[in-house]
Structure formats: structure tokens, C-alpha cells
């Protein structure tokens, strides 16, 4: 009945564990395959979507575009996660599915030294160089998540379970995850389901408005949608009306509230708190 969200410092391992857990429990597995659907749904290329998830943060100009790609992915993924019994990996769900009690969040880590060894063998580079590359990868991972979601995805406190493949074998990890998810703690309930629905609705609203309002932030609570947009005073009324209209057409939306943010710096400071 619960959800399992896997995050890993090694994509292949995370993918494998996710699939195996889904197999053991008879859950549905959602991985990168979802991107094909997201791409066709939003008329973007699958590569762009994958790059938004994988590439380290770069130029500021690309940032807005990446946030938009991530918005597509988030909306699609949250819709899938509205169902029970799903294992999700590789779609950054651990960064946007938060405070949901029936989502078991798992982080799979490797010993840096081991990663370096594997890397040096695979790429045929020296161990020293491989070590540096591993360090840079970790740093990129952190920077990426901090820029995209203001969270450090290498921070263990983000997860319910952290498994080190340096200590436990992959199959053992699968077993542990399957066991853990059977705890009553992770059973969905009205409250946590509602949280997921609110998140999905907010993501859906944001999806519709992202192109016009790249900086839009949306919250939803039981059909009531609150959108925060940036606007100059003169366009304020027009923009508010526009948001209200677009958002109001979506199924599940009963009431729309639009807040205008003028103090961009202050808002940034607030949202990072």
C-alpha cells in the first residue's frame, strides 16, 4: 500500500534495487521510462528531461529551462504516486515528496573508495583521478539538489533509511527495504493521501502556468490553490486574473488565490528558511 522512493549515488544500482523491490512486493515500478510519456505529453525532448535531472548546474540562463523540465517531471511523477504500491526511482521524487508519512524514502550509498575503484576500472583512469571525479560527482549532486529544490540530497536526515552497499549486498538492501515498508508506520492514511493529492494538484496547476510565470510557486489545500507570482504593480491585476482563469479550469481546483511577490530578495530569504 505505501510508496517507496529510492535515491542513489549510482543510478544503475538505484534502478536495479527499485525494480527488484517492486518485483518482490508486487508493486509498480516507476523510473526513467516515465520520461517518454512526459516528453510526448508536454512536447519536449526526452533528452532535455533527462539532462535536467542529470546535468550539474550550469549557466543561469539554463536554470529556468531546467526548472520547467523538472516541473513537467514532478507533475507527472506525483500523479503516478497518487496510486498506492509504487516504487519510484530516478525522478527526484525524494526532493518533492516530503512530509508524506506513507512514502518510505531510501538512500542507497556506496563507499567513495569503492566507487573510485570501479570508476578507474571502467574508464581506465588512474585511481587518484577517479577519486577526484567521485568527489566532484558528490559535490555536483549536492549543488544540483540545492539549486533545484533548496535541499541537499546527500543529507541523510532527508531519508527514512540509508543503506550502504559498501556494507550490505544489493539483494540484502532489497530485503531490508521490503521488510521496512511493511511497518504500519508507512501505511497510507487519509491525512497522508490528502497531502499527496494536494501536492499533485499544486504541481498540476504549476505545470499549466510555468510557461507564462517561470517563477511561480503553488500550494494547494483541499482544492484551494494559492499561487505566488512575481509581477510589477501595473500588470498585477491582469496577471492575477490570468492565473485565476487558467488554474480555475483544472479539475479538482475549487478556489484560486493569487499572491503577488514584489520583494524578490525577501522572498528568497524566506523560502530558504
Amino acid at each position: 500500500m505505501p510508496l517507496i522512493i529510492v535515491s542513489s549515488d549510482n543510478f544503475k544500482q538505484g534502478d536495479e534495487i527499485g525494480q527488484k523491490v517492486a518485483g518482490v512486493l508486487g508493486y509498480r515500478y516507476v523510473g526513467r521510462e516515465l520520461l517518454t510519456w512526459v516528453a510526448s505529453e508536454n512536447q519536449v525532448s526526452e533528452e532535455d528531461l533527462a539532462r535536467a535531472l542529470d546535468d550539474p548546474p550550469g549557466l543561469l540562463a539554463r536554470r529556468a529551462r531546467r526548472q520547467r523540465m523538472l516541473g513537467y517531471i514532478e507533475a507527472a511523477c506525483l500523479n503516478v504516486l497518487l496510486d498506492d504500491n509504487v516504487v519510484c526511482h530516478g525522478l527526484a521524487a525524494h526532493l518533492y515528496v516530503r512530509a508524506v508519512s506513507h512514502a518510505l524514502k531510501v538512500r542507497i550509498i556506496n563507499e567513495p573508495e569503492q566507487r573510485a575503484e570501479e570508476l578507474s576500472q571502467a574508464e581506465g583512469i588512474s585511481l587518484d583521478k577517479a577519486r577526484k571525479q567521485v568527489l566532484r560527482q558528490t559535490k555536483d549532486e549536492r549543488r544540483w539538489s540545492e539549486e533545484a529544490y533548496s535541499l541537499d540530497q546527500t543529507d541523510a536526515s532527508l531519508y527514512d533509511l540509508v543503506i550502504s552497499l559498501g556494507t550490505l549486498e544489493l539483494d540484502k538492501a532489497v530485503e531490508i527495504i521490503s521488510d521496512t515498508v511493511s511497518y504500519r508506520k508507512f501505511q497510507p492514511m487519509t491525512y497522508s493521501r490528502k497531502l499527496m493529492q494536494d501536492k499533485a494538484l499544486a504541481a498540476g496547476v504549476r505545470l499549466k502556468l510555468m510557461e507564462q510565470f517561470p517563477d511561480i510557486r503553488v500550494e494547494a489545500n483541499d482544492g484551494t490553490v494559492v499561487a505566488y507570482i512575481q509581477s510589477l504593480k501595473k500588470d498585477q491585476r491582469k496577471k492575477q486574473e490570468m492565473v485565476r482563469q487558467i488554474a480555475g479550469e483544472l479539475p479538482g481546483v475549487r478556489h484560486v488565490e493569487v499572491h503577488i511577490i514584489r520583494d524578490l530578495v525577501g522572498q528568497a530569504a524566506q523560502s530558504s528558511r
Binding site: V100, K185, T190, S192
Partner: protein
Amino acid sequence: MSDNLQVLLLDDEPIVGRRLKPALAKIGCDVDVFEDPEQALAKMAQKEYDVVVTDIRMDQIDGMQVLEFVRDRWPRSKVIMITGYAMMSLAREAMEKGAFDFIAKPFKPDDLRRVIAKAAHALGSDIDFEAVEMEKVNG
């Protein structure tokens, strides 16, 4: 004993009981409303309810204690927690202690009716929740 689902509702907010008693009666529940957890516990020591709905944050005894008491005394009873102080940790704690469901305030009467219908279903005595819905639409 009637066939009606026996429900105990405990919340130190009197309005909750006042509104939910008739709301639940409509789906065929016999509802006993309590504002004082002690009195509720005393009653439950004698009577087995099918469903117990309890607030978590109360002054003398908190809902978690009520939950533990019911799980202990009447393992068959379904306990539904309602709280204004919903947080992931609290929700997980309630579930781990054997709560049937956990609802955050504010909620609509239908939200609770739906959960109670689910509980009744789990108890093997289905109630016709849809009928009420239909009645509402028609009425």
C-alpha cells in the same frame, strides 16, 4: 444491541461532537460523544465500540493514550485519530500504534464518513455510504 455501528467520538472541542453526531447518525451510526477523555475511557472500559474517533491533543489524557487503551482493551475496534496538529512524525506514530486512520483538521463531514464506512467494511459490516451521498445529491 442494534445492528448500527457503535461509534464513540472524543474531542474536547464541543462543536465537533455537536456536528458529527447527526452527520454520522445519517450513515447508520450510534454515536456517543465525549469531551472529557477520562469519561470516555471509563465508558470504553465497559462497552466495546466498533469505531473510536479521538482527537489527539487534549488536556489531561492525549489521544495516543486513548489509542493504546483501545488497542489493549478491544483489539477489534477501529480507532480513527483526528488532530489539528498533524505532522508526519505524529501520523507515523499513530499508525504504528495501530490507528485505523489519521485525519488532519480541518476535515469535512464526508471525509470522516468515508473513513468510517471503510472501517465498517473492514469490520465486515458494510454501511451504505453511497446512499447518503445520493440522498444529498437528490435532496
